[in-house]
Symmetry: C2
Subunit: 302 residues, 2 copies
């Protein structure tokens, strides 16, 4: 498994954080995950949709990173999904000013023939019905992971619970898993979800780190300490992209999943050090390895 | 330094958690810290005050744990400081029903002669003016740590900031350090406090773990994952007591402080597995060592 299928949104984000603002920069769950995964992987297959306003320079940007665009549908007569939002001093909460779904309402999750051989798939935050449809088209799939958000928990809980049972791994944040399960204890909440195919839950806790939970085991890593967060948008998606790229290279045994948890953490730490994906797009595996040394020193137990 | 001076409150706690309720059980910042520290140490000097209603069985309990009571003043005509509170499902927030200061209003921080040789001191959450007075009586002091709470930050910020500059290490939780400094980034908040004698800040994040921060270095540990929290009361105090007992035995170089951070974390994890200090009082160093093995496996980075 040295390639990875990533499905989700590609967006224009207009955002404001305490560190500044940016109009119409590249965003979206699949975009952040793909930029992250392409640090390690030579090929990432992108399944998403954009509008006629999507700039050709961004297509070039993605192609140059090894992102295959056979599955990026461009709907000329529509516009790219656009999110407008801001963060207060508390960077953990995104406030939405406006969401224009635009082309996203026509997202057809049919995979192009070039993508059907994918063994590894990450489904970023989109309608869980679409996530289920994508899983159904991947007979060769060995490992599939799924992310979601509070919106789908509130509006399509049953669809989401079905999609989750088709995944091998669920990415979810601490507030979301409590909302989804009604269980306050995160370990009990995660283990209560392990039915169907689902074997692993990764709970993302933002500045507090992340936890990987299986029926028998737990791994916990803190976040990378940073003096300044420029823009938290896409942190979870880049975390997932980094995590998935690591297992694409190294396998899915427990120790590799543990190491991928660290790799995802470090990937996300670069993501939040710039607006959109600008910082992530500028780093290499060597930068991640360098930061890993610092991280080891911070987290080692004598 | 194989003994430790602990000052703070000894209380009767009447509390309710989602797991049950207990009237008038042993509590208080110094009590939880002393019970924790006496797992490792043969002698802990306790400086506190109680009322005539304090039961002799509790004095015996403390003496049997090696807690020296020369500094526990019993004010016959008063009552023991009493806290009545509860926790909702969200165990991170204690809700106070009633606080009766009682004997605590007459807390005279004069050290008995037997305590004047202490080189290591932990000042649990009490009036920062009292904390300052205790530091002033310890010419042999090599390392002093101080804990506080939101009440003092709101009501006596200047007194507290003065007491902090006299300490070597500050224990504080994430909400409190943000309240105290007005700085949202925890690393910048901690480093901004490092003036006077203060060299280390430990930020306690409850279920999210703890961080040790100096001018140049950072150590981060997650919390021990637990399927059930019985009673979070005294978690921070037992953390501090466990931490301080570890450095009493092993020194105050950076690597020992790091290891103490883990030791404090594990001590607190036992504290919250029973009401008041009942679970903590029942464990030995062997139980902590056993849990350390599990914790290492959960937190190791390949």
């Amino acid at each position: 498994m040295t390639k990875l299928l990533i499905a989700g949104t590609v967006a224009y984000d207009s955002l404001r954080t305490p560190q500044g603002e940016r109009p119409r920069i590249l965003g979206g769950s699949a975009l952040h995950a793909a930029v992250a995964a392409s640090i390690l992987l030579k090929q990432v297959d992108l399944l998403s949709v954009v509008g006629g306003d999507f700039e050709p320079q961004y297509l070039d940007f993605l192609r140059e990173r090894g992102v295959d665009l056979h599955g990026l549908k461009i709907i000329k007569e529509s516009k790219t999904f656009a999110w407008n939002g801001f963060y207060e001093k508390d960077l953990n909460t995104a406030h939405t000013v406006q969401t224009d779904l635009n082309a996203l309402t026509q997202f057809d999750p049919a995979l192009p023939p070039e993508y059907l051989d994918n063994e590894l798939v990450f489904l970023g935050n989109i309608d869980p019905i679409l996530q289920t449809k994508i899983f159904a088209q991947l007979p060769a799939r060995k490992f599939g992971a799924l992310d979601t958000m509070n919106y789908w928990i509130a509006s399509q809980k049953e669809d989401l619970l079905k999609a989750i049972t088709l995944a091998d791994l669920l990415f979810i944040n601490d507030a979301e898993i409590r909302q989804l399960t009604g269980e306050d204890n995160l370990f009990r909440a995660a283990r209560g979800l392990l039915t169907g195919r689902l074997r692993y839950v990764i709970i993302k806790k933002g500045e507090h780190g992340a936890m990987l939970i299986s029926a028998e085991r737990i791994a916990i890593v803190p976040s990378m300490p940073l003096d300044e967060i420029i823009d938290p948008t896409g942190a979870g998606d880049s975390f997932a992209g980094g995590f998935m790229s690591y297992i694409a290279e190294n396998g899915v045994d427990w120790d590799t999943l543990r190491a991928a948890l660290v790799y995802g953490t470090l990937t996300a730490s670069f993501n939040v050090q710039g607006f959109g994906c600008e910082r992530l797009a500028a780093i290499t595996k060597a930068d991640l390895d360098e930061r890993l040394k610092v991280f080891r020193e911070i987290t080692r137990i004598n």
